[in-house]
């Protein structure tokens, strides 16, 4: 079964129609726990993007030799391998960035979004399609994390990317972990509302 979408559609699909955070509601732990600032969201997004693309391509490449009964262990193994490789490469060549991102990268092994994309997409599609789907999902995750981070950083600390824009701290509540649930919920409702409004306008 091959996908009938073009490469561009695959990327856009990952960012909008099937956004990992707001539409697929996957990988909620990092979305709630780490999205306190825009920078955190960006860092984790980059890391997820790389792992997703590499894992998708690998699984798609080997899809015919993976035994169906052990596909989930194989996915986990693939993800863990790529996470380790990226971790080592970053530690060796970008020590400054690694000092900030190090703890996030190791977490990625457990992210639901990557395993789910391998199961739903990469194990059925061609390498090219999986590559673009990986890019789309990674970007979608990054966009979701960054928009959450933007809201939480602005409302919680009054800053964006560390720059003071409001001059005061509106509600400390938003940087606390549990506020992540409220933020995700509210933003999900907002995006659903936009979709509804768009469909209604289209119909009319």
């Amino acid at each position: 079964m091959a996908t009938d979408k073009t490469n561009l559609q695959l990327v856009v699909n990952g960012i909008l129609n099937e956004n990992p955070i707001f539409r697929l509601v996957l990988s909620m732990c990092p979305a709630v726990g780490i999205s306190t600032t825009v920078m955190n969201g960006f860092m984790l997004g980059i890391a997820v993007l790389f792992v997703q693309v590499f894992s998708s391509c690998t699984i798609s490449l080997f899809k015919n030799v993976i035994h169906p009964r052990i596909r989930i262990p194989t996915y986990t193994l693939t993800i863990a391998t790529w996470v380790t490789v990226i971790d080592m490469v970053l530690a060796a060549y970008l020590p400054e960035a690694y000092a900030k991102m190090g703890i996030f990268i190791k977490l990625i092994v457990a992210f639901a979004i990557i395993t789910m994309r391998l199961e739903m997409f990469a194990c059925k599609e061609s390498v090219t399609a999986s590559f673009w789907d990986g890019i789309g999902m990674g970007l979608g995750f990054m966009a979701g994390m960054m928009s959450l981070g933007l809201v939480r950083e602005l409302l919680g600390m009054g800053t964006i990317l560390g720059y003071d824009v409001l001059g005061f701290k509106p509600l400390l509540f938003f940087v606390l972990p549990f506020a992540g649930f409220f933020c995700v919920g509210l933003m999900m409702a907002f995006f659903n509302y936009i979709e509804l409004a768009y469909k209604r306008a289209k119909r009319a």
Binding site: V65, I66, H67, R69, I70, P73, T74, L77, T78, A80, T81, T84, V85, M88, V89, A91, A92, Y93, P95, I103
Partner: protein, 299 residues
């Protein structure tokens, strides 16, 4: 039943493949990683001594590394120190002391300068000179910092048990064994609790503690006073003079424990305590041996 064998076979192959990829990545990145760690260590050492990019160390400043070994020979144990010799680079004297600190032997060792930092190469060179009947085990290293030939400070990289695994630190002492700085290099304490040992308001508490105070250093479970915290953080809200005044005021006080991480605080305090005391004792013995045997060193 047939399935199970193919599953086992395929899983094994995938694991081997994954291992190969990770191994290759490790081999390719390991050198760069080591280089980074070394650079980081040097940067930390300099900052502990009070130097930075804007305030570079003077040209008269020199660092001499002393490596300590445990020497076992036919049932008796002793300490071996690899001390740089005055004759120039690459020349070392290996001084062996028994457990009571009495001088036993000295031998000259020549190691190429670029090989000195590599533990296995260095140990092999010493073992070749010592002979086969003695077993060597590397213990630790000390960096003696000299300015114009006079000792100004000691840098002690060290390791001690923390709450979970080992905490490795670099401790800087001045020539009278007063702590001038502590930097945590590696640790695996809990984030938000024990991991706070890397924060300035904890590690800077050790600054300025003399050896007499360190010997009786304890951990107290009272909250950190606000003025002390400000002085320790040193974020520019108060002047440097005030910081020195507050530091002096708290110099004889014990270490204030981190909230929720008493064990980590206690581990670091005891670790530092042990490092300073043992170092002062060992250096005294080594110095005595060096003077008695007229072994010339650059420090």
């Amino acid at each position: 039943m047939k399935d199970i064998f193919t599953i086992i076979l395929r899983l094994t192959i995938s694991c081997l493949l994954a291992g190969l990829v990770m191994g290759a990545a490790f081999v390719l990145t390991n050198n760069a990683k080591k280089h980074n760690a070394h650079m980081h260590e040097q940067k930390v050492s300099q900052s502990l001594l009070g130097y930075s990019a804007t305030n570079p160390p003077p040209a008269t400043l020199a660092m001499h590394e002393v490596y300590r070994y445990i020497v076992t020979a036919s049932g008796s144990q002793g300490m071996g120190y690899l001390v740089p010799s005055k004759d120039g680079e690459g020349k070392f004297t290996f001084v062996t002391l028994d457990l009571d600190g009495k001088f036993q032997a000295q031998t000259t060792v020549t190691i190429a300068p670029e090989k000195t930092a590599e533990e296995s190469e260095r140990t092999r060179a010493i073992a070749a000179v010592l002979g086969v009947d003695k077993a060597l085990r590397y213990a630790d290293q000390t960096i003696v910092v000299t300015d114009n030939g006079k000792r100004t400070a000691y840098l002690l990289p060290g390791k001690f048990p923390g709450f979970k695994t080992f905490i490795s630190v670099i401790l800087a002492l001045d020539s009278k064994f007063t702590i001038i700085g502590l930097e945590v290099m590696e640790h695996e304490e809990d984030p938000g609790l024990g991991a706070e040992i890397v924060q300035k308001y904890f590690k800077n508490q050790f600054k300025g503690k003399g050896i007499d105070k360190v010997k009786t250093l304890e951990v107290v479970k009272t909250p950190l006073p606000d003025d002390y915290r400000q002085a320790l953080e040193g974020d520019g809200k108060i002047t440097a003079d005030q910081v020195t005044a507050i530091q002096a005021q708290y110099q004889d006080k014990d270490i204030y424990a981190l909230t929720g991480a008493t064990i980590s605080s206690r581990s670091v305090t005891n670790g530092v305590k042990g490092m300073v005391q043992k170092f002062a004792y060992r250096l005294g013995l080594l110095d005595r041996a060096l003077i008695e045997q007229h072994i010339a060193t650059p420090f």
